[in-house]
Subunit: 542 residues, 2 copies
């Protein structure tokens, strides 16, 4: 027997419709690429998104077409998203931080038919457009006055293009399982893999993200999404924001401490989200200028593990609550958030930070477990680590084109490629990437723990732990270290510093000093390269 409730498919245009209807006057403030701060409203954005949809349809785009965006966080980017989704086409956010050849590969793989591009990235598109066979049109997110000379064919200024539509248009409707968006992951190995969001997953994710124990977003919030829309949907803020009618402040291309501070201050931002690097720059700016953060209530910090010092400063010096979070492009992206359950709500100082150093627990709509190599679920004891697997309505069930099938279980779990443990309170902490973990005599050693420990030494600039061949144990840890300029710590100095702070059998068998550790385009340590570099290394213990 079926329930007798209305058909009301979870379609993304309903998010912006709700914003327009209930919060039409609320402002969206953007730092434009042209320079000035631009103020608009949900009512405006809604009307202009309808024009985007109308115009795209007139240009021949429709259901299932991939339309790329190569743009910063601005109101125009939001309009483009909703306009694209509103005809059943698929927004495909491109990460400009990738190498041009990667972007070409991704656009060809996705068969993008058009691209909305910021002025910043027009030179990049000019360089690569010829190599993208499917690309028919380039829409530059500016007006006629700011439109530069370009050698590209089929290029148009967004505002001109939009002016040819009157907005008298109705969103298309379709099944909620229809693709809405696309984002490629930049793995450290192999080709990028495409994640395809559905309307249903985007809407459910928007609801999940806004919940009180997740980000806790209200119409009374002013949200500054520093995390880019091309970085896993700005962690859902481009959808949660309109859904609840919060004022949005879009930072454009300026992410330095002074620029972010200016927006936080003048727009009275109450909530923001970014990677640790951004917050480091902001905190440095505050320390240099002696400025305060009287309006800001909460920041979500994710993308990589949040250093304790950032948490301490935000909470103790500026009275801003930190929510440590973890997610993945494949998860839309929210996985866990470190908000405090009542058992921990009374904690203060270091005891509170001890909990907050963990990545937190999943909201309703995300399930997680850690397993050993044989897929046996491991106990939630806060120390037994294993492969972190997740499940939920906003978690990928496959990559576009069927890449990486080994990451998807038969019973519906996605293998995140992370290694983690979960404590009795349900809080998860990432300890490693699965491919980086060191397997010594059948037991796992966390490289992240070793690295975090090693960089605590005052003379160490950076450290990477990798497994190298050992005839008895299979692998044993080697610590690769970059010394601080002018400092000359020895192997013995470093090992002595680490001794007693990790299990005896976790201690590196050797320390190798290098001038530089290789990094990916997004700043992660390239362990693959490092392992390659040290593949014939003979440990003194072997």
């Amino acid at each position: 027997m079926l329930g007798l409730m209305q058909e009301w498919p979870l379609l993304c245009h309903k998010l912006i419709d709700n914003a327009e209807r209930q919060h039409g006057v609320r402002e969206i403030v953007s730092r434009s690429i042209e320079g000035p701060i631009v103020r608009t409203t949900y009512a405006d954005i809604h009307r202009r998104a309808l024009k985007v949809a109308q115009r795209l349809e007139r240009d021949g785009y429709g259901l299932g077409d991939r339309i790329a965006t190569l743009a910063w966080n601005t109101a125009r980017h939001i309009e483009a998203w909703y306009g694209i989704m509103g005809i059943g086409a698929i927004y495909h956010t491109l990460n400009p931080r990738l190498f041009p050849e990667q972007i070409v590969w991704i656009m060809n793989h996705a068969e993008d038919k058009a691209v909305f591009v910021d002025l910043t990235f027009l030179p990049l598109i000019e360089k690569i457009a010829g190599a993208v066979k499917s690309l028919k049109q380039v829409i530059v997110l500016t007006d006629k006055a700011h439109m530069p000379q370009t050698t590209l064919p089929n290029v148009v200024a967004y505002e001109d293009w939009l002016d040819e539509a009157d907005g008298d248009f109705a969103w298309k409707t379709f099944d909620e399982g229809t693709a809405a968006g696309m984002c490629y992951t930049s793995g450290t190995t192999g080709d990028p893999k495409g994640v395809v969001y559905s309307h249903r997953s985007n809407v459910l994710h928007a609801m999940i993200a806004a919940m009180p124990d997740a980000m806790g977003l209200s119409s009374r919030d002013t949200i500054l999404p520093v995390v880019p829309m091309f970085h896993a949907n700005a962690w859902g803020l481009g959808q949660s924001g309109p859904m609840i009618g919060a004022k949005l402040v879009m930072p454009g291309c300026k992410m330095d401490g002074a620029s972010i501070y200016e927006l936080l201050d003048t727009e009275k931002v109450t909530f923001s989200a970014a990677v640790p690097t951004v917050w480091m720059m902001l905190l440095q700016h505050l320390e240099e200028t002696g400025k305060k953060l009287p309006h800001l209530n909460k920041v979500v910090i994710g993308g990589s593990s949040c250093p304790r010092a950032i948490m301490t400063k935000f909470q103790q010096n500026y009275d801003v609550q930190v929510i440590h979070a973890w997610g993945m492009t494949e998860m839309s992206p929210l996985g866990t958030l470190c908000t405090l359950k009542p058992d921990y709500a009374g904690l203060e100082g270091e005891a509170r930070l001890d909990v907050q150093q963990k990545q937190g627990y999943p909201p309703f709509g995300v399930e997680m477990k850690v397993t050993d190599d044989d897929n046996n679920a491991q106990p939630w004891d806060g120390k037994t680590f294993g492969r972190l697997k997740v499940r939920g309505p906003a978690v990928a069930r496959a990559y576009y084109g069927g890449a990486g099938p080994e990451q998807f279980d038969e019973d519906g779990w996605f293998d995140t490629g992370d290694v983690a443990h979960i404590d009795a309170g349900g809080y998860m902490q990432i300890t490693d990437r699965a491919k980086d973990v060191i397997k010594s005599g059948g037991e796992w050693i966390s490289t992240i723990d070793l690295e975090n420990l090693a960089v605590g030494h005052p003379d160490v600039a950076e450290a990477a732990a990798i497994g190298v061949h050992h005839s008895k144990w299979g692998e044993r840890p080697l610590l690769v270290v970059v010394r601080k300029p002018g400092k000359e710590p020895s192997k013995a100095d470093i090992l002595e510093f680490m001794d007693g702070k990790v299990a005896k059998w976790w201690m590196p068998d050797d320390v190798a000093f290098v001038g530089e550790i290789p990094h990916t385009a997004t700043g992660k340590i390239q362990k693959i390269t490092l392992r390659q570099q040290f593949k014939d290394y003979r440990l003194p213990t072997d």
Copy 2:
């Protein structure tokens, strides 16, 4: 093109699974029908709900079977709900406040096969069981020690029945559109009509209800659902609570001021929800005893319009935020909540109360409009009223068995039967029931406004406005008044008091004094009866 996101149907058992996994230690505190306060946890409830499911299946129940509950808010009632839903059967909450013959009618219409019944209502079931042809089994929500003598066949004590299951059971899975629950509306006219909730609608409603701008529920809350589970799913709290892992305090059968206060105080309740009558009793108790409410943060008040005095006292005397709300059984039930948009967030005192007197605005997931008799949408100007129509994933698309088809539009809107206006800020205010509104010369007059005004007269105990025949205007208002004991206000006194406070043409053409105004079983004024009583009334103006 479809999105590549996981199949993860929105099934109600996932709510209690999440509670068990992430919030297993959290308490559920019940005032038991046997007397003492009983403490349990989500882990316990989850295990016992699995036993209910296992036991029901063993007794031959399955997908689509209707299993009634005739019970107060207790942990056992929650277990029964999740156990029933967990095999794809349908919980059917019966309202014990209805007349026995109505309950018989409803149970026969739903074809209930079994009933979970509190000790309180066993005599009622004994009286009516014979008249319910489909009923095979009565499960009394108690243990052997408290099991009374009964003449019923096929009756068992819940705890004995449960002891025969070991809980080694997996929830059944099925499409999220599958029916999960059922509740009949007690209209003032005609037969009761059955609303059939789906798993999807219940889960989405749980999410909608918990949002920061709706009820704003967190794992750190302690929730006291005074509103009964048989009153439109306890306004969703039996689902939102487990979803977010909040501590639940279940009041059992004691809803008087002293009993509610005791729970608020000893369990440190932070959030509660009830109809105005309950709050009136609580406030009276507080005033008599001089007690305070240091833990309580928010109360949701709905079911009928909340008197301003209740709001004032909660907010000014006890620092408790009031959320005025409106909903219907057909809406799962939330429709609107009067939380403050940023434009109003700074208001204080009377200006704030003016906004809060409205029923509020719908969260994402509920759409609303007001229309005239020709289905033309009316402006949102805070004065033009019309029929209130709603749409959403947790709004009924039909009644069970196809009753009342005229309430459902071709374009998917449900006609609430209420008359309301919506202001420019999106806030809705109910002005009447559609069948009660007075139509004078083609224009509508709100009876609720007239009544609210009339009861402001110090000598008026109760007032009802109805339309009576007028040869020129079709209908004109007659005010029916019950005087306060020992008071003798005249027609002229009352009309003089009202004069200037409503539009001239809204003023009643006459006032009739009566000893009593008829009410329904649920306390609403029986306007139908009243109209019948005055159908031949000759207005002095005619």
